[in-house]
Symmetry: C2
Subunit: 269 residues, 2 copies
Amino acid sequence: MSIGRKSMGPGIEPARAADSLHSGVGPGVRRRAGDVLWRQLADLLLARIDEGRLGPGALLPSENQLMEEFGVSRNTVRRALLRLRELGKIDVEQGRGAFVRQPRFLQYTITDRTRFADILAEQGYAPRVQFLEALTCPAPDPVAELLELAPGAPVHFLRAVSDADDVRISTTRIFHPAERFPEMIERRRRDINLASVYRTFGIEDYRRRVTWIEARRPTEEEADLLKQDIFEPVMVTRKVDVDQQGRPIEFSEALWSGSHVRLCIPGAD
Amino acid sequence: MSIGRKSMGPGIEPARAADSLHSGVGPGVRRRAGDVLWRQLADLLLARIDEGRLGPGALLPSENQLMEEFGVSRNTVRRALLRLRELGKIDVEQGRGAFVRQPRFLQYTITDRTRFADILAEQGYAPRVQFLEALTCPAPDPVAELLELAPGAPVHFLRAVSDADDVRISTTRIFHPAERFPEMIERRRRDINLASVYRTFGIEDYRRRVTWIEARRPTEEEADLLKQDIFEPVMVTRKVDVDQQGRPIEFSEALWSGSHVRLCIPGAD
DNA sequence: GAGTGGTCTAGACCACCTC
DNA sequence: AGGTGGTCTAGACCACTCA
């Protein structure tokens, strides 16, 4: 018998039955030492995708078909498909199937003059911002500190999602000092261009003081907002914008779709 | 019966047996509509961690104990624990158990004068770089383009891992133009400070032209090199450094441990 | 050797989508 | 109605760790 040591030791009848039914069926998966089944299956499907035998948008065989083709259990098939989701190679839709993902990246350039609408327009995308939530409340302590406000000073809070050509690219939590910017919420709702909103408050120019970047997994709610797979990581950027006098005017935390956005930080020229 | 619609419909005896054995046991999990078991269990464990009932370094109950405590199958327990790994809340070690992770972040500041050793030293860490692989070969096409070399021109290739105080923080693939920098490999091996190595080639100063940042999941090999969980995302930074005349002298791709590193991009002052 | 997590199987029902 | 993926169970063996 060719049953390996690492999985399904000798004497396991169900495994043997599967082996005898499917051993030698094409370039399949084999029970052998140091090479677990689900990983073999994942690598095999990855190869099909990377070699183009399964092109972008193509429908993968169903889980049942993969079970039969490779003589493994459904859980093993699902473990392999989970890997492909983690790698961002496929999108799985309940009731429909698993599809090879079309890779596409929007490049978002971060400078001290970052302007959301401008960046997207430069790359030929139509930017769209939708505000899901807006209220005025006391600043949480870390926000007050970053905005250089007294603890508990009022801030405007906005939650927004941003699209480029109907592709969801980010969701953002935004804080503005409320006392300095009355009606900020209404004005932002009316005008997508933040720079022009700031001009209505007498701020002709502003710049980014600092940006922090992390990567993590989204919560379910975040994945939902970003219209992305729960297994795909997101980038988190936190930034503080300041006016020409260096006073903070905005703190925001943006979640970027890891599969659709690449950040770019140019060096000084 | 209180069996919900979303899992284990009526008529499933094994599920009922589990219910009758464990229903009403503390603040446990319940089969109900719209709330799957593994997520309930994950949220429950998350609460224990976030409330400090399971502090950093604490050992979680074993999978068998969780099965009994909550009256669910081992696969369901494992699904919940997988979620906690994905969220970076626990580290799982085969044969030992699952431990609450100690959160810690190193801040890595990216500017046009980024110097690896300096950044770590400023934060009080002892930097260490280990070269795993070094060879001279023809440049892959994208690398040749970024280094402004003729296609196939020779480049030095280095693969390294970097530690701060024995915490693995990154792994890097590095390319230098080979014709301009003979003996680069030997000199880098002898001197961790890249700026001083460049000086031996007559380059007094250099700066970063551009940095691209993405987030994705690591391959197993990468997770291994980073000593991090396969389910934890990594940040990928690609950058080009240029000399004072603007000629590219290095292209590198670094993978940063998503759980140990936060990138920082300061605005211009 | 006992206990831990890792892999795998076989089979069940559910929710969702499409015809 | 039939097929898809999502959840869950019960039970098996394996690899690893530690006393």
